[in-house]
C-alpha cells in the first residue's frame, strides 16, 4: 500500500472529466449561444483533468508504487476448447504506476494547452462543438488507454483513440483530401490493430497455459498483481516461437499507431486535420501510444531476443527513412510530421534495445517540443494562410514569440544542449550503443540513428530559416502577418519553457522516480562523452549546412542537371511507397473485388439464372404438348397406361429380382 492510494483511487476522474466535456459539448454545444462557450467548457474540464493528472504524478513521484483499482468485469466469457478451460473475464480497471503517471502528465498538459490554443486558432471554423466534443473524446480515450490495467482494455481504448483520430483528421470533411487522409489513417492503423489483436490472443494463450500464469486468465489478464508484474519472472525469460510472433504482432500494432516503417504513410497525410489536432494527436500523444504499448509490453509481458532485434530494426530504419523525406518537403506541417515519425523511431529503437524507460523519456520530452513545433507552425499558418515554406519568409520581425518558440523546438529536436531533446536523445543513443555487442545487426541501425541526428538538424532549421529569415514573404499575395492572440501565445510560451527544461526532470530526484533507470546514461565514462560529442557535433553540422543553404533568405535550388535530381524526385514521391499502397488498394484489392463481382454475377448467379431458364424452357416444351385436342390428351393417357404396364410387368419384377438376388 502506497502513501497516496487515496489519491490514486480517484484516477478515474482523469478520463471522466473530458467525458463530461464530451457529453456537454457534443449534445448541447449546438444550442449554446456562441460556439466558443462549448470550447471553454471543454478547456475547463480538460484543465481539471490536467490538475488531477499532475496531482497523481506528484504522488507517484514522491512515493512510487503500483496501485490497482477494483475492476469492473466487463465481459464474462465461457471456457474455450483448449486454452482457457475455466472461462475468463475481461475486466476494466485502473492501474496507476510511475509510467502511467508520467503519461497522464504528457497527455493532459499537452491536451489542455492545445485546447486553450484552439480557442483562438479555430475561431473562424464551422462546427466547433463537434471539434471540441471529438477532442474531449480523444482525451477520454487516451487517458483510459494510459490507465488500462490489462491488455484488452488497452486495446479497447487504443481503437477509440484511433477513431477519434479519424474524426479529427477528417474534421474538414468537405475537403476531399481530408476525407481521404482520414480514411487512409484509419485503414493503415487498422492493419496494425488486427495484428495487435492476434498478438493479444497469442499472449493470452501462451501465458495462461504456462506454469506461472495459471491465475492470470482468472484475473482478467491484468498487467500487475499487487506491486509486481503479474507474470513475474516469466517476463523476458520465457521464450517460444509463439511468444516471438506475439511480440512481432505487438510491434505491428505499435508500428501502425506510431507510424513506423512500413505503416508510416498515413501520418504525413494526416496533416490535413487542423494543426492543433496534429500537435496533440499526431505528434505528442496518440502516435506515442504505439511506443507506450511497446514499453508496457516489455515491462509486463516481455519480448524475446528476436523481437527486440526486429524492433531495433524497425525503429532504427524509420529514423532515417522519415528524416530523408523531410529533407526536401516544403510543407511546414509535413516537415514537422516527418520529424515526428523519425523521432518515434528513436523511441522504438530504445525500447528494442531493452531500455524501455529511455524510450519513454524521449517520448516525454518529445511530446513537449513537438507540440511546441506544431503549435508554432500553426501560429505561422494562422498568420499567413499557407503551409508552403517557399512562399513564407521574413516572419521573425512580425512574429517574435513564434519565432523564438519555433527556434526552441528546433534546437530541442536537433538534440542541442541544454534543450530537452538533447538529454533524451543522447540517452537513446548511449543505451543503444551499450547493446551493440548483443547482435552485429545493431550496428547499422545505430549508424542510421546517428546519421539522422545530422539530417534532423538540417531539415528543421531549413524550415526555420525559410519561414522566419529573409526580408519578407516570397509570395506577395500573402497577407501581412501579425503575432497570434494571447490564447495562442500562452501555450507557446509554456511549451517553450517545458521544451527547455523537460529533459532535466529525469535528474530531479523525485521526478526521476517516474522514469526509473532513465536520465542517467549507463555510465559517465569516456565513451558516453564521445557519443554525446559526436551527436551534438552532428547536430551543429546540420544546423550549419542549413544556414549555408537557406539562411538569410537564401533559397537553394538544386540544378536541373544535377545527378542528385533523381534522388530528390524519389524523396518527394516518398519512395513511391504511397503510390504502391494506392496501387495495392485501388488496383489490386479493388480490381480483385471487381473480378469477384463479375464472378458473382455471371458465374454464380449466372448458374442460378441458367437453371431458371432451363426450367422455363422445359415448361415451354410442356406447354406445346397441351394442344387442346381431346385425342391428344387421350394419347397421353394411353402412353401413361402403356408406361405403367411396362413398369409393372417388366421393370418392377426386374428390380425386385435384382435387389432380392443381389
Amino acid at each position: 500500500m502506497g502513501a497516496f492510494d487515496t489519491l490514486f483511487q480517484w484516477a478515474f476522474l482523469v478520463p471522466l472529466f473530458p467525458l463530461v466535456g464530451f457529453v456537454i459539448v457534443g449534445f448541447f454545444g449546438d444550442r449554446m449561444k456562441k460556439a466558443e462557450y462549448g470550447g471553454w467548457v471543454a478547456v475547463v474540464l480538460s484543465g481539471l483533468a490536467m490538475f488531477v493528472g499532475i496531482l497523481i504524478a506528484i504522488g507517484e513521484a514522491l512515493s512510487p508504487g503500483t496501485y490497482t483499482d477494483a475492476s469492473y468485469t466487463w465481459l464474462n466469457l465461457p471456457g474455450t476448447q483448449s486454452v482457457f478451460s475455466n472461462g475468463f473475464s475481461l475486466v476494466m480497471g485502473t492501474l496507476v504506476d510511475p509510467i502511467s503517471a508520467l503519461m497522464l502528465v504528457v497527455v493532459n498538459v499537452v491536451g489542455f494547452l492545445v485546447m486553450l490554443y484552439s480557442i483562438a486558432y479555430m475561431h473562424h471554423d464551422q462546427g466547433l462543438p463537434r471539434y471540441y466534443a471529438e477532442l474531449s473524446l480523444f482525451l477520454v480515450a487516451m487517458n483510459g488507454l494510459v490507465l488500462s490495467d490489462n491488455l484488452l482494455e488497452f486495446f479497447l481504448f487504443w481503437e477509440l483513440v484511433g477513431v477519434c483520430s479519424y474524426f479529427l483528421i477528417g474534421f474538414y470533411y468537405e475537403k476531399p483530401s481530408a476525407a481521404s487522409a482520414a480514411k487512409e489513417a484509419f485503414l493503415v492503423t487498422r492493419v496494425g490493430d488486427v495484428l495487435f489483436l492476434l498478438g493479444i490472443f497469442l499472449y493470452f494463450a501462451t501465458y495462461a497455459t504456462s506454469g506461472g500464469g495459471a491465475g492470470w486468465a482468472a484475473s482478467g489478464f491484468k498487467f500487475t498483481n499487487g506491486n509486481t508484474p503479474f507474470l513475474g519472472s516469466l517476463v523476458g525469460s520465457a521464450s517460444s516461437p509463439t511468444l516471438t510472433i506475439a511480440g512481432l504482432m505487438m510491434l505491428a500494432g505499435a508500428a501502425g499507431k506510431s507510424a513506423q516503417f512500413p505503416l508510416d504513410v498515413w501520418l504525413p497525410d494526416a496533416m490535413e486535420g487542423p494543426t492543433t489536432v496534429s500537435a496533440l494527436i499526431h505528434a505528442a500523444t496518440m502516435v506515442a501510444a504505439g511506443v507506450y504499448l511497446l514499453v508496457v509490453v516489455s515491462l509486463f509481458l516481455g519480448f524475446t531476443a528476436d523481437d527486440r532485434l526486429a524492433i531495433v530494426a524497425v525503429g532504427g530504419f524509420t529514423t532515417i527513412w522519415a528524416a530523408s523525406m523531410a529533407l526536401v518537403n516544403t510543407d511546414i506541417k509535413r516537415v514537422v510530421a516527418y520529424s515526428t515519425i523519425s523521432q518515434l523511431g528513436y523511441m522504438v529503437l530504445a525500447v528494442g534495445a531493452g531500455f524501455a524507460m529511455v524510450g519513454l523519456y524521449h517520448l516525454f520530452t518529445h511530446a513537449f517540443f513537438k507540440a511546441l513545433l506544431f503549435l508554432a507552425a500553426g501560429s505561422v499558418i494562422h498568420a499567413v494562410g499557407t503551409q508552403d515554406l517557399l512562399k513564407m519568409g521574413g516572419l521573425r520581425k512580425s512574429m517574435r514569440v513564434t519565432w523564438i518558440a519555433f527556434f526552441v523546438g528546433a534546437m530541442s529536436l536537433s538534440g542541442i544542449p541544454p534543450f530537452a531533446g538533447f538529454w533524451s536523445k543522447d540517452d537513446v543513443l548511449a543505451s543503444v550503443y551499450s547493446q551493440v555487442g548483443a547482435h552485429p545487426l545493431y550496428w547499422p541501425f545505430l549508424l542510421c540513428a546517428f546519421a539522422t541526428v545530422f539530417l534532423t538538424a538540417y531539415y528543421i532549421f531549413r524550415a526555420w530559416f525559410l519561414a522566419f529569415d529573409g526580408d519578407g514573404s516570397r509570395d506577395a499575395s500573402l497577407p501581412h502577418a501579425h503575432e497570434a492572440p494571447w490564447a495562442m501565445r500562452l501555450p507557446l510560451i509554456v511549451l517553450s519553457g517545458l521544451a527547455l527544461v523537460a529533459g532535466l526532470f529525469a535528474f530531479v530526484p523525485s521526478f526521476a522516480n517516474l522514469l526509473p533507470g532513465a536520465g542517467v546514461p549507463p555510465t559517465y565514462g569516456t565513451t558516453d562523452l564521445m557519443l554525446s560529442a559526436t551527436s551534438v557535433g552532428l547536430g551543429f553540422g546540420g544546423l550549419g549546412l542549413a544556414y549555408l543553404m537557406w539562411g538569410n533568405g537564401r533559397v537553394f535550388t538544386l540544378p536541373a542537371d544535377s545527378p542528385l535530381q533523381p534522388f530528390r524526385t524519389v524523396l518527394l514521391r516518398r519512395y513511391y511507397v504511397k503510390d504502391a499502397y494506392d496501387w495495392f488498394g485501388l488496383k489490386a484489392v479493388y480490381g480483385l473485388s471487381r473480378a469477384a463481382d463479375f464472378v458473382d454475377q455471371y458465374v454464380i448467379d449466372g448458374t442460378v439464372r441458367g437453371i431458371e431458364r432451363a426450367f422455363s424452357q422445359l415448361s415451354d416444351a410442356g406447354r406445346r404438348l397441351q394442344t387442346g385436342v381431346v385425342s391428344d390428351y387421350a394419347a397421353y393417357v394411353v402412353s401413361g397406361l402403356v408406361g405403367l404396364l411396362v413398369f409393372l410387368l417388366w421393370i418392377a419384377p426386374w428390380l425386385v429380382r435384382s435387389v432380392g438376388g443381389g
Binding site: S631, A635, V638, S639, L641, V642, L645, V646, L649
Partner: protein
C-alpha cells in the same frame, strides 16, 4: 374343345370383328349398325358366362338404348345421313400406341393358365341384394351421377345458348 368354348370363340370373333368394322367403315350409319351387332355378341358372352341379368341388361341398355341414342345423334348432326367423314387423320403415333397396348395386354393374357374352369351363376335376387345392401353406396353414387349428368345434358342442349 367343348361346346361352350366353341360358342365363346365364335362370339368373340364376332365381337372383335364388329368392333373393328364399326371403327373402320366410312359410313357413320354403318358404324352404328356394326356396333349394335357388337353389343348383341357381348350379351351372348354374358349368357355364356351364366350372367343372365347382365346379358339382358346389355341387350336393353346397349343394343337398345345406346344404339338408338347414337343413331339419333348422327341424324341430328348430319344433314345427309350417309356422311362419309368417319376416318380421318390417323397419325402413326396413336396407331403405334394402340398396337403396343394390344400386344402387351394380349401377351399377358397369353401367359395365363389355360385349363378350363367352371363358372358360377348368381341369381338376380342375390345380385339385387348385393346392390341394395353391401354395395348400396355405389348405387347411390351412380344415381347421383346420373342425376347430375341429366342436368348437365339438359344444360348443354338447351335452347338459346351460344
Amino acid at each position: 374343345m367343348s361346346l361352350e368354348e366353341l360358342a365363346f370363340l365364335v362370339l368373340a370373333a364376332i365381337a372383335v370383328g364388329t368392333a373393328l368394322a364399326a371403327l373402320l367403315v366410312r359410313e357413320l350409319v354403318h358404324t352404328i349398325l356394326w356396333i349394335s351387332v357388337f353389343f348383341v355378341a357381348l350379351s351372348g358372352i354374358y349368357f355364356l358366362l351364366q350372367a343372365d341379368f347382365l346379358g339382358i341388361l346389355q341387350l336393353g341398355v346397349y343394343a337398345g338404348a345406346v344404339t338408338i341414342l347414337l343413331l339419333f345423334g348422327v341424324m341430328v348432326t348430319r344433314k345427309r345421313i350417309f356422311s362419309r367423314e368417319a376416318a380421318t387423320g390417323i397419325g402413326p403415333f396413336p396407331l403405334a400406341l394402340a398396337l403396343v397396348s394390344i400386344v402387351i395386354l394380349s401377351g399377358v393374357a397369353a401367359g395365363l393358365p389355360t385349363q378350363p374352369r367352371t363358372v358360377h351363376a348368381y341369381s338376380p335376387a342375390a345380385l339385387s341384394e348385393q346392390l341394395f345392401t353391401t354395395d348400396g353406396g355405389w348405387l347411390v353414387l351412380l344415381g347421383l351421377t346420373m342425376l347430375s349428368a341429366l342436368a348437365g345434358a339438359i344444360y348443354l342442349v338447351r335452347e338459346g345458348r351460344e
